[in-house]
């Protein structure tokens, strides 16, 4: 079964696409009807505000969460009145309909934000390619080799497959189109923020407080999305933006 609907809605990627199509006016699939998501041709009213956000977002957030075992993507579509978040749950995803102000907390959960050690490490530079290899292929060898010896303790978490990487991007369309990105590595010895700089990346030890602050700031401010609200009033902006996050797990 790829759709389960009760207090929460769990569905496959295909079922989500089918639901969005239904919200655009196309016929519902048998699967959506049988699960009770669509009744008598009408989408459950609890989902409608979120689907409106998916179809006409004023901003989109996409967070890639990579662990040694898997890569998942958290997506959020924001509107002032209600937002939608698609949160991976094993083989399915949970569709949440909530206020945009709740999105940072959802992202914090996806990142695995919690009290962590505060590493005292001098910033260092590594080739950006080794960070990409971690994000794309869970390949830790290049990053471990590139880190200075003073980072050996932190790097041990990578070698021991105890890490998570999160890369998140928020973007918004409109006259003042823009985007912000955040990349974080999380290991047993604490959090490290990744600052891309040309072909390199500067790695800086950071704290859960600082990462949460940056997750909140990832979202566009009201003035930034004023143009986007106007531009989505008569049409969709779905897919105009992407986001990604990386975290290492302790």
């Amino acid at each position: 079964m790829t759709v389960r609907f009760g207090d929460t809605l769990l569905l496959s990627a295909q079922a989500f696409e089918d639901l969005v199509s239904c919200a655009e006016g196309r016929p519902a699939t048998d699967e959506l009807r049988e699960a009770g998501v669509v009744r008598d041709g009408v989408v459950d009213p609890r989902l409608v505000p979120g689907l409106r956000a998916v179809l006409a977002p004023v901003a989109v957030v996409r967070a890639q969460v990579r662990t040694p075992a898997r890569s998942e993507v958290v997506q959020a579509w924001l509107r002032p009145e209600a937002s939608a978040v698609l949160l991976p749950r094993d083989a399915l995803a949970e569709l949440l309909v909530l206020g945009a102000d709740l999105v940072p907390a959802v992202l914090a959960q996806a990142v695995g934000l919690r009290p962590r050690p505060r590493p005292e490490l001098a910033p260092c530079r590594v080739p950006l390619a080794v960070v990409d290899a971690l994000l794309d292929d869970a390949d830790t060898a290049g990053l471990v080799a590139a880190l200075p010896s003073t980072w050996a303790g932190w790097a041990a978490g990578l070698s021991a497959d105890r890490w998570r990487a999160v890369a998140a991007v928020a973007a918004w369309p409109g006259e003042d189109a823009g985007s912000r990105a955040l990349a974080v590595l999380v290991g047993p010895r604490g959090l490290v923020r990744v600052h891309p700089d040309g072909d390199d990346a500067e790695l800086r030890a950071t704290t859960s407080t600082a990462v949460f602050r940056d997750l909140v700031r990832l979202l566009p401010t009201d003035p930034e999305v004023e143009g986007a609200v106007a531009s989505t009033a008569s049409g969709g902006a779905r897919g105009q933006a992407a986001a990604a996050v990386v975290v290492a797990e302790g």
Binding site: G99, D101, A105, Q109, L113, T207, V216
Partner: protein, 142 residues
Amino acid sequence: MPVADVVLDLPPGWSRADRPAPGVLLLGLEPGAGQPFRANLVVTADDLGPLDLRGWQLQTDAALPRALEGYALLDLEHVQVDGRPGVRRLASHVVRGRAVVLEQWAVVSGPLGWTLSATVPALAWPSAETGLADVVAGWHVP
């Protein structure tokens, strides 16, 4: 046990109520009546009995998830509060469907455990953070 008044400078424009309710020594509210949620500061003092800072805060960590909807502890660190060893906690939770951030400082003075709790709408927290740090820096714990 008589407890001294709280010596604390609130951010400019905030209203202040001393001992507005049992167990609450001070309530500070940001201006803006009619807003769905107003940032606020609350100071409390608890008789700790035999508990030290660590035992008290372990108890607090256990109690907060039961008391606050959608509570998620984000950060916890040892800090100095008015020159004494203390704890700073950052958490998110939900109030009437709205996301808020709780930033809390706790310190022991004599038999009392003092707590300063700031609750701010989540999206406003980054811009409020510096002001809150200034408030804590000026907090004189009796």
